[in-house]
């Protein structure tokens, strides 16, 4: 086959293939954790702390134990055989906090599980909740992160001796001298309030225990079955081959299902103790109070520029409110440290210093939430760039063109140490401006302003690291390697192809995209490939799906393993076809002798290898299977520019996002349909983060946003139609040229919306430096600006 013929044939990778997952999910035949039935299953309800910080003096469970349908009532004392887990880190100035299935001695946030009731039905379990009496001794609240880091603040974890669980500094050059010398300086105090992921499926887990083998199977709505398996092995002191963790169909995650949870340990311990299946399904109140939450930083930042608007120096001081525990396995460093490591963004900045402290407070722990650190770092940096544009009189696009790292400067080492590989920063900016008609929008804005209307345009450019390999920790200092991924591909004796991975799709469509890659490199038909994932038993070592890693890493492993199996198929087929393997072509599930009509199907090859006597010499009967591990070592850069336009109602201060354009470089696309969907969903979450979503705790640590009436997730009415442009520049550093893109939508959009609202209100001189920008906050800012104008 000539090169021209190879390029002419329809490719599976890059095609808008409809998803394999869809038919079952569209017909109600999906299999989510709570859908799973188990004989004699017991149901759990947790009595959770209603105190934000208190010592547990006594727990009286007698009445609950006697309630109808109750089988067991368990406290921390009943689970003393479970080893607490600790999210360790190599970072200096880090204090780990042990995690137990139930609170022991103290409670540290409202919602922390204290007692688990196991009953014949969830109705019975919940009936008994109120019969438990817990005697608490209230302790001083630790709510405000700035107060928590002060000397003498009440301590949440006495053993740590401080509420500062992490302190870190990144620096390059002499930032203070460069800042003093800078002719243009802009600064601000920025606030990104706490979010919660709100996957539509609440978390759930079901432990089934095989007493004869002392073996557990946990079905869990998790993104990380491999991490959970390894953690349970340590907590329960069971070898991995006696614990299987399955993430079946999972209804979204966004990071909220990306950590180990106390409830997962609890149901396993309870199932083992009671020798019956034990299930817990979260309700939405538990989801909103106890799932890992996101973001929550205060950032004081300053940018110094020359008189032409070129950035010279950047310095920032960040306090991250990480909640009550250092989450497993990511640690409390995950979110706030990434704010300072990514703050310089895709810009050329010589002098930098970023300091960060992670403060423990009596709130639910923070953990990964889509974008991790970068929605906040991008919000801050893009606001500073726009503030600099206003000060220098430059247009928002022009100042970015002057500061974005150019193609000829790549690879570029950012002041914080991250290296950007080849990626089109300016190309994304130009493409987004072209897509949305930036010039025409500025003209429209002039007309709107002449009429006294508030109409604004906001730009945000960013870069992120995705698909990161073994040389970089996903969370700074985290000792667990997340940088490799294994694929096991096999053709069985019926000719069926199964490809198994350690990743765990929870909406990304990996059953489709990975099958595309396997089919392409194996020469199989797409519909003949079955993907097994979301199962700790699939490969010896795996973690799951998070950090925009799965397509890059599993795609690389799939490519390597598919090529290896293809070689074996060709070797066996060469005997059947009596031709040299070099003359054979594998395509569409068949092996053909190039230029002839002689061929055998994969199924025939498989039968010859495994089942039929005498068709192949012994040395050609090697099983049609291969296991390969892929490691992108460092990972790759993904970049984008987002542009939003907003209109603000002058009476209600409602902010309406009118238009939204994204130009992104996510490398080679495997399935454009799925990439578009990922961008749309990410942008919608970012608009939510910018305008509506905020977890609110009162000054006693009670959570005020424990329902979806109080925590506002955008509906179809708040999200505009979006334009998405793909700049497909193949990554030079990953196999297949793929880049990760699952999180980017959420990284750029909060900043774009904040800049658009600021731009709309430029005549009043208002800076949007706090998100979400609710109508109330906007009202206060506008009133203050008008008061300033009158004096």
């Amino acid at each position: 086959m000539t090169d021209a013929e190879i390029h002419a044939r329809p490719k599976i990778v890059g095609a808008r293939v409809k998803r394999t997952e869809d038919p079952r999910l569209l017909t109600g035949l999906g299999s989510y954790t709570d859908d799973r039935q188990a004989a004699r299953v017991l149901h759990v309800a947790f009595r959770r702390s209603d105190q934000s910080h208190a010592r547990i003096r006594a727990i009286d469970c007698e009445a609950a134990r006697a309630a109808p349908g109750v089988v067991a009532v368990l406290t921390a004392d009943d689970l003393s055989g479970v080893t607490p887990l600790v999210a360790t880190s190599r970072m200096a100035n880090y204090y780990a906090t042990p995690i137990s299935p139930l609170a022991r001695g103290k409670v540290r946030y409202v919602g922390e599980p204290v007692v688990g009731i196991v009953a014949e039905s969830r109705y019975h379990a919940e009936d008994a909740l109120e019969l438990i009496v817990i005697d608490y001794e209230p302790l001083p609240v630790v709510i405000d992160a700035e107060e928590a880091v002060r000397d003498g603040a009440p301590l949440l974890h006495e053993d740590a001796g401080t509420n500062v669980l992490v302190a870190r500094e990144f620096k390059r050059g002499d930032v203070d001298a460069a800042m003093e010398a800078a002719p243009v300086r802009v600064k601000g105090r920025f606030r990104m309030h706490r979010k919660t992921p709100v996957a539509m499926e609440p978390r759930a887990c079901l432990a089934e225990y095989d007493a004869g083998r002392d073996a557990l199977t946990l079905h869990s709505a998790t993104q990380v079955p491999g991490i959970v398996r390894d953690a349970l092995s340590a907590a329960l002191d069971l070898p991995g081959h006696r614990i299987r963790v399955v993430a079946p169909d999972v209804g979204g995650g966004f990071g909220g299902k990306g950590s180990l949870y106390p409830e997962e340990i609890f149901v396993c311990a309870a199932a083992r103790r009671l020798a019956r299946p034990v299930k817990w399904t979260s309700d939405r109140m538990e989801d909103l109070t106890c799932n890992s939450q996101g973001f929550d930083e205060i950032i004081d930042a300053e940018l110094g520029l020359d008189k032409d608007g070129r950035a010279l120096a950047l310095r920032a001081d960040v306090i991250g409110d990480v909640g009550a525990y250092s989450i497993y396995p990511w640690t409390a460093a995950l979110e706030p440290v990434q704010v300072v490591s990514f703050l310089p963004g895709p810009y050329r900045i010589q002098h930098y210093r970023g300091r960060v402290r992670a403060a423990a407070t009596s709130k639910a722990p923070t953990g990964p939430y889509r974008g991790v650190g970068r929605p906040t770092s991008t919000f801050v940096m893009e606001r500073l760039i726009d503030m600099a544009a206003a000060k220098t009189g430059l247009d928002a696009k022009e100042i970015r063109l002057r500061n974005l790292v150019s193609a000829d400067e790549l690879p570029y080492k950012v002041a914080s140490g991250i290296v950007w590989d080849k990626s089109g920063f300016k190309e994304c900016l130009n493409a987004a401006c072209e897509a949305i008609g930036y010039g025409a929008l500025r003209a429209k804005q002039e007309e709107a302003r002449a009429k006294g209307l508030w109409f604004g345009i906001g730009i945000a450019s960013y870069a992120e690291l995705t698909g990161i390999g073994s040389r970089i920790s996903v969370a700074p200092g985290m000792p667990i390697n997340t940088g490799t991924e294994t694929a096991n591909i096999r053709i069985d004796s019926t000719g069926a192809i199964t490809a198994a991975f350690g990743v765990a799709s929870h909406g990304q469509g990996l059953e489709t995209t990975l099958a595309q890659i396997v089919a392409e490199h194996l020469g199989a038909r797409f519909e003949d490939v079955r993907i097994v994932q979301g199962d700790s038993a699939a490969v010896p070592g795996g973690t799951g799906t998070y950090a925009s890693r799965s397509l890059v890493l599993a795609g690389g492993a799939a490519t390597l393993a598919a090529r290896a199996v293809r070689e074996k198929v060709l070797n066996a087929a060469s005997h059947l076809l009596e031709a040299s393997a070099a003359d054979l072509v594998a395509e569409d599930g068949k092996v053909s002798v190039a230029g002839t009509d002689r061929s055998v199907t994969f199924r025939e090859v498989a039968r010859a290898v495994y089942s039929e006597m005498g068709r192949l010499p012994p040395d050609a009967r090697d099983e049609l299977a291969a296991t390969k591990t892929y490691d992108p070592v460092f990972g790759t850069t993904t970049s984008a520019t987002h542009i939003a336009t907003v209109e603000i109602d002058p009476e209600t201060y409602e902010i309406k996002v009118d238009r939204f354009a994204v130009a992104e470089d996510c490398g080679r696309l495997v399935n454009p349909l799925i990439v578009d969907g990922q961008v749309h969903g990410g942008v919608a979450q970012g608009i939510g983060a910018a305008l509506y979503e905020e977890v609110v705790y009162d000054d006693q640590g009670q959570i005020n946003t424990a329902s979806l009436v109080d925590y506002l997730v955008p509906t179809a009415c708040e999200i505009p139609s979006m334009q998405v442009v793909h700049l497909e520049s193949e990554s030079p550093t990953t196999l297949g040229g793929f880049r990760g893109m699952g999180e980017g939508g959420t990284i750029g959009s909060p900043a774009a919306v904040a800049n658009a609202v600021t731009d709309a209100l430029a005549p009043l001189g208002i800076d949007i430096n706090e998100l979400p920008i609710t109508p109330e906050r906007l009202f206060r800012l506008i009133e203050a600006a008008r008061a300033r104008g009158k004096t």
């Binding site: 038919p23 569209l26 017909t27 109600g28 109705y123 009936d127 709100v198 996957a199 749309h680 329902s707």
Partner: protein, 158 residues
């Protein structure tokens, strides 16, 4: 709490007679008692819309109804639509337009959209968005869902 009431509900064309506790939610009756797990429970307080079913032809939150309130009613769930290999037009359009990702909100979206398509002209995409405002989706940003419903309304599912 243990007293039960006898009810008869027609679900997806089949009549079921069961003795249920008065406090049993319709959603739990469908999922637990009848094993129809296609109806999903996302919030149990009537906001997210994942549990939407049709009761006597109108879309309802099955988490805000007790099973006893459905006594004598006709209930349709996602399982009443097309089957694998024979999706109905709306399901096929969702498949074609990638209108689902994790799939958890999807049964509620499909039942709400079924109701909307039967009752309203849906002249503009904003009408579709208004009609979907009681159904939360966290994955898709709604873009492809609106497109999928628009295609069905325009008689061009493909």
């Amino acid at each position: 709490m243990s007293k039960t009431r006898d009810i008869a509900v027609t679900v997806n064309g089949a009549r079921y007679e069961r003795a249920v506790e008065p406090r049993l939610l319709l959603a739990d009756f469908l999922r637990g008692t009848l094993g129809l797990t296609g109806t999903h429970v996302g919030c149990e307080h009537g906001v997210c819309g994942a549990c939407t079913v049709l009761v006597d032809g109108d879309s309802m939150r099955s988490c805000l109804m007790f099973a006893v309130q459905a006594d004598g009613c006709k209930v349709e769930t996602v399982e009443s639509l097309g089957r694998i290999g024979k999706l109905n037009t709306l399901q096929e359009s969702f498949h074609e337009h990638h209108a689902l990702q994790c799939g958890f909100c999807t049964p509620g979206m499909l039942m709400t959209a079924t109701d909307l398509l039967q009752k309203y002209p849906l002249a503009t995409d904003n009408d579709i968005r208004d009609g979907l405002s009681g159904n939360l989706c966290r994955c898709t940003g709604y873009e492809h869902i609106v497109k999928a419903i628009r295609a069905v309304k325009n008689g061009a599912a493909r």
